[in-house]
């Protein structure tokens, strides 16, 4: 007695049927798991990006029922204005200085820490800890530190025979103060990344160099620094992108001032959108910010592809 299912042709058909149903069910599960995540991105990330583009072509105060289409007027206005040129310059200065100092000091600290030292890992964690703290809280602590009469920094400046500037009341000093605080907050991140990068350089390279009689400088120059290029690029990319998003410390410490001395592009976007109620200009700022960050990412990716030496 042969049962129906034992027939090879039927079996094959049945198996195919099951596989098909299984695949459909898997695809449905996939949609259920991924769907909400992608839907939220569509609503709160991709759509806003497009909408920013639209807003940059209109004149609107966020309240009026109609938005007036003005073409490229907002762009023309901003790129012709001295104020906006200053804001772009501020953004450049802030990013260049904070990224440059963070990476440079982080590299020096990591090179010093990259040896057998008691308590080294604990120090690494302590240096990293400010990166975990609220930017608003850090900004407030540092206002107190920068206080020209009762602040911590004044103790040192006085000991050196100087007089504390009115940090947050003069444009260049306020920019310097904001940069100092950002470097203080992010230094540990750079140290952690560089230490990890140093650990990844193969020890045999140092051994070989030593056998060849290379001194410490030569080893630093020919092995360590080239070996660190991949993490350096990673660090540059992440800190540059983070600096374009820097908001909380600036908001708390200077409010973009005095006048607009510490107003960066992201701060300008906030200011125009939520204080000045000028959706068009905020839209231009948002579009510009996005384009700058996107091009950094792409340039970085292209550059990394060609030049970085993977140790």
């Amino acid at each position: 007695m042969t049962s129906h299912a034992a027939n090879p042709a039927t079996l094959r058909r049945l198996r195919g049927h099951i596989r098909l149903r299984q695949e459909t069910r898997d695809a449905i599960l996939f949609a259920l798991l991924v769907g909400p995540n992608l839907l939220l991105f569509a609503i709160f990330t991709y759509w806003p990006l497009l909408y920013n583009g639209y807003l940059s072509f209109v004149q609107w105060d966020l309240l009026a029922p109609i938005k007036i289409w003005v073409g490229f007027d907002n762009y023309r206005f901003l790129f012709g204005s001295a104020e906006f040129a200053r804001i772009l310059a501020n953004t450049f200065v802030f990013t260049a200085a904070s990224v440059g100092l963070t990476c440079l000091l982080g590299l020096v600290a990591a090179l010093l820490l990259n040896q057998k030292l008691v308590g080294r890992d604990a120090v690494r964690s302590i240096i990293f800890s400010p990166a975990m703290l609220s930017g608003a809280a850090i900004g407030i602590i540092w206002i107190y530190i920068f206080d020209p009469r009762y602040g911590l920094l004044d103790i040192f400046i006085r000991a050196l025979g100087g007089r504390s500037p009115n940090w947050l009341l003069s444009g260049p000093w306020a920019m310097a103060a904001v940069i100092i605080v950002y470097v203080w907050k992010n230094l540990g991140y750079a140290v952690v990344i560089y230490l990890a990068g140093l650990q990844a350089i193969p020890r045999e390279l140092y051994e070989a160099a030593r056998v060849d009689g290379a001194n410490a400088w030569a080893r630093l120059w020919h092995i360590t620094l080239p070996g660190l290029s991949p993490v350096t690029f990673f660090l540059f990319l992440t800190t540059i992108l983070a600096s374009f998003q820097a908001f909380d410390i600036i908001k708390v410490m200077t409010g973009g001032g005095p006048v607009d001395a510490t107003t960066t592009l992201i701060y300008y976007l906030y200011q125009e959108g939520f204080v000045g109620f000028n959706a068009g200009r905020a839209g231009v700022a948002a579009v510009l910010l996005f384009v700058i960050m996107l091009s950094f990412t792409i340039v970085q990716m292209r550059f990394t592809e060609r030049h970085v030496h993977y140790a």
Binding site: D26, A27, F30, L33, L38, L40, F41, F44, T45, P48, L49, Y51, A109, L112, Q115, L117, G119, R120, D121, R124, F128, S129, P130, M132, L133, S134, G135, A137, I140, I141, I143, Y144, I145, D147, L152, I155, V192, I193, A196, G197, Q199, R203, A216, P230, V231, F233, F234, L241, Q245, K251, I266, G273, F274, A282, G283, L289, M293, L294, T297, I298
Partner: protein
């Protein structure tokens, strides 16, 4: 566009590949020096190393110390010239004063709720979408994954104005969902966990399937427990980010009752400001203390996770 050919290659280029095997104490890189000159320079390097360690500790530690002693100083002492290194009279009054000047109890509740839900959503979405992308079939799956990764290039800061309009039109201003929902989706965590899932031994997963376990069962009882290190690191980073979030809650709340801690401390400073530094420092301690404790407890997971993120 050629650069989109393989998302692993892209992420490798910008350094986003993971090596989670690299855990525990850092190995020592430089072997013991062999001859006398090398020995001398080794001693010198060590001295410089300890010098650098002390300097770094001072630079990072002093501002924190300044905040802590500020919170314990009397107002009279704070405004004495020159400033003092140790509080002459230790006072706890600033903490009570801060708690009375602003509804910190309410701020804590708000922050705990928005952090729990904000991180909860992120961790849930990351764990489940990563599973789908790693193990489930779907037409054009890799395109969808790139679509998700593209979100990494669009920071929240760029989208604040349209999102504010959306949240306002939903009537979500001054609500928890207004604070939480726009930031609930997660791209980085999805990528991170998918990479980790793909390193798991397939034999175990297959064995579970042969035993008749469904996908969700495999995810819950095998994949998630095996992925604990990656999950914990991501969860901690998400938690810290949500707790400290400033810009978005600042925009979508305008009543005192709905403020979260970072916004609350900002307004406390604006109101009390340079008149009552002791009170403001006490309030600042309220904000940073929980995160400082979490970091103290879990620093290894966080720091090693960050380090692993930069190295392939």
């Amino acid at each position: 566009m050629t650069m989109w050919d393989d998302e692993d290659a892209i992420m490798a280029q910008i350094g986003w590949t993971q090596d989670w095997k690299r855990e525990g104490a850092l190995p020592q890189t430089i072997p013991a020096p062999s001859n006398r000159v090398e020995y001398r320079s080794g001693q010198l390097a060590r001295a410089a190393g300890y010098g650098g360690m002390i300097l770094a500790l001072l630079i990072i530690g002093l501002p924190v110390y300044w905040m802590i002693i500020g919170a314990f100083k009397t107002s009279a002492e704070i405004y004495r010239m020159p400033p003092t290194w140790f509080p002459h009279t230790l006072t706890f009054a600033n903490f009570g004063e801060a708690w009375r000047s602003a509804p910190f109890g309410r701020y804590y509740i708000n922050t705990i709720i928005t952090t729990a839900f904000g991180s909860g959503f992120e961790i849930f979405f990351a764990a489940t979408s990563a599973f789908a992308f790693a193990f489930l079939p779907f037409p054009r799956k890799d395109w969808l994954f790139l679509l998700l990764l593209a979100a990494l290039m669009i920071p929240n800061q760029v989208t604040i104005l349209p999102n504010y309009l959306t949240v306002a039109s939903l009537g979500w201003i001054n609500t928890y969902q207004g604070i939480v929902v726009p930031g609930a989706a997660v791209a980085y965590g999805t990528f991170l966990l998918r990479q980790y899932y793909r390193t798991l031994p397939t034999e175990i997963l297959d064995a579970a399937r042969v035993d008749g376990a469904g996908h969700l069962r495999v995810l819950y009882s095998i994949v998630l427990p095996l992925s604990q290190p990656a999950l914990i690191t991501f969860a901690l980073l998400s938690l810290v980010a949500k707790w400290n979030d400033f810009l978005w809650p600042l925009l979508v709340t305008n009543t005192r009752d709905m403020r979260v801690l970072p916004i609350g401390i900002f307004w406390l400073m604006v109101e009390e400001g340079t008149i009552e530094w002791g009170v403001v420092m006490a309030g600042t301690l309220f904000v940073v203390l929980p995160i400082a404790l979490i970091f103290l407890w879990a620093q290894r997971y966080i720091v090693d996770g960050i380090a692993a993120g930069a190295i392939r």
